[in-house]
């Protein structure tokens, strides 16, 4: 049964990739699309190297670093998409930087308090970076939900779907990481299974969101728009004159 868990992402990730191509996500969410393409490559690479221990070890950690990098870029993309209209407002650019700073700070603090049990400097950086990205993903997810609640937006939006997938995966992974440091190596195996199940659930969330086509509403007929904007201008002028 537990062996089966390792094979769950195999059909799911290509299905997600198919849906993303179908919905044209490579144009609207290029970083997330890159993350999924990388996910397919990583799953295949891990599968083919699984019987060769040293090669699998390096493939696993290299792809993990790639996941973290693409994951962080995807979160930046979501925030940029939501706050696109505020590009003239300088402090909105600081939101992601602040989130990154908090994530990196917490991860470094964690590295200092509970040093990861890995050999070599490179692996230490990868693990620390990965935990930082997990913090960033949860924080961006919480911020996205906060924005959607504050602005009263429709919940079924692609950016929220992407953030929800990452948010759930990262929340569970962070929880598992905390438990790992509390319980110790006895938890290592369960941590791997939990992480994989959480990732599979995240992929299912993305599949759920991207299974529904969402296109921008076609632009309004310029003649109709012009008429109503002129009408609005007339009202505004009347109001201004009544001052």
């Amino acid at each position: 049964m537990t062996d089966l868990v390792w094979y769950i992402p195999f059909p799911l990730v290509p299905l997600l990739l198919y849906l993303l191509v179908k919905r044209g996500a490579y144009g609207t969410f290029p970083c997330f699309f890159g993350y999924v393409v990388f996910g397919v490559v990583a799953v295949v690479a891990r599968f083919f190297t699984r019987s060769h221990a040293p090669l699998y070890f390096w493939t696993y950690w290299t792809t993990d670093a790639g996941y973290a990098l693409f994951g962080a870029l995807a979160m930046y993309e979501i925030l940029r998409k939501i706050l696109r209209g505020m590009t003239g407002v300088w402090w909105t650019r600081l939101i992601f930087l602040a989130v990154i700073a908090v994530g990196v700070g917490l991860s470094l603090w964690r590295m200092h308090e509970v040093p990861p049990q890995v050999q070599g400097r490179l692996l230490l950086f990868i693990v620390t970076g990965e935990i930082a990205v997990r913090f960033v993903q949860v924080l961006v997810f919480v911020a996205t939900v906060g924005f959607i609640a504050f602005f009263g937006f429709r919940w079924r939006q692609y950016p929220l779907g992407i953030a929800a997938g990452f948010g759930l995966h990262s929340t569970i992974t962070l929880l598992a990481t905390t438990k790992l440091s509390d319980i110790g190596t006895r938890f290592t195996f369960l941590w791997g299974v939990i992480s994989l199940v959480a990732y599979s659930v995240a992929v299912l969330i993305w599949i759920g969101f991207f299974s529904v086509p969402q296109k921008e509403q076609p632009p309004l007929d310029p003649k109709v728009a012009k008429h109503y904007i002129a009408l609005l201008e007339r009202y505004l002028n009347v109001l201004r004159r009544t001052r």
């Binding site: 939900v145 906060g146 429709r154 079924r156």
Partner: protein, 195 residues
């Protein structure tokens, strides 16, 4: 210990955010969707002339010129409360437009993404309103302090959190008219008046 608390707080906020999404999805599926044609009845008109007069720097100057300190302060507080009410209406109207914009697309796969004109106008107005309400809340809480704290000018509230409020609300009106063009003509007229 502090690290554990910080980690648990972040994990808990992630879990709560997820529960919130599930709850909202459930509520959306259960509750009847609002009829876009009813949007106009939920709007509170924003008196544009009053808004402009409150934000007029000349009006502030004239008040300072003609009133004594006590009367000036009372007048400023009255104007602040008035402006707070207008901003409350602006925030309310932007929420109503967001809800009814959703309702327009409830039965179709078409959607306005978060980067649509109306959505971005709503984001700007909501940010502006939140910033102004916070500022006004603080200003109205400030004690007189025997005249040591100068009474702030309302004209400085034209811009808050780097957003020009009246301009953003104007953009929201135009975007709403474009977005709700499918309404019946008399309702669209009522919408333009109601905003």
């Amino acid at each position: 210990m502090y690290l554990s608390i910080a980690t648990w707080l972040i994990v808990a906020s992630g879990a709560l955010a997820f529960i919130y999404i599930l709850r909202r999805a459930y509520a959306r599926a259960r509750d009847p969707k609002p009829d876009p044609n009813d949007a106009v009845h939920y709007l509170y008109p924003v008196d544009w002339a009053l808004l402009e007069s409150l934000l007029d720097p000349a009006a502030d100057f004239a008040l300072r010129w003609s009133l004594d300190r006590r009367a000036l302060r009372a007048e400023h507080r009255r104007r602040m409360r008035l402006y707070r009410e207008l901003v409350r209406r602006m925030a309310h109207n932007s929420s109503v437009l967001a809800d009814f914009d959703d309702a327009l697309f409830a039965d179709s796969h078409l959607t306005r993404g978060p980067d649509s004109k109306l959505r971005q106008a709503i984001i700007k107005v909501r940010f502006y309103c939140a910033g102004v309400r916070l500022k006004l809340g603080v200003w109205l809480l400030l004690p007189d302090a025997f005249g040591l704290v100068p009474t702030p000018d309302l004209a400085s509230l034209r811009k808050a959190v780097e957003v020009d409020g009246p301009k953003a609300y104007d953009e929201l009106r135009v975007a709403a008219v474009e977005a709700f063009a499918r309404l019946r003509p008399n309702e669209l007229e009522a919408l333009t008046r109601g905003l």
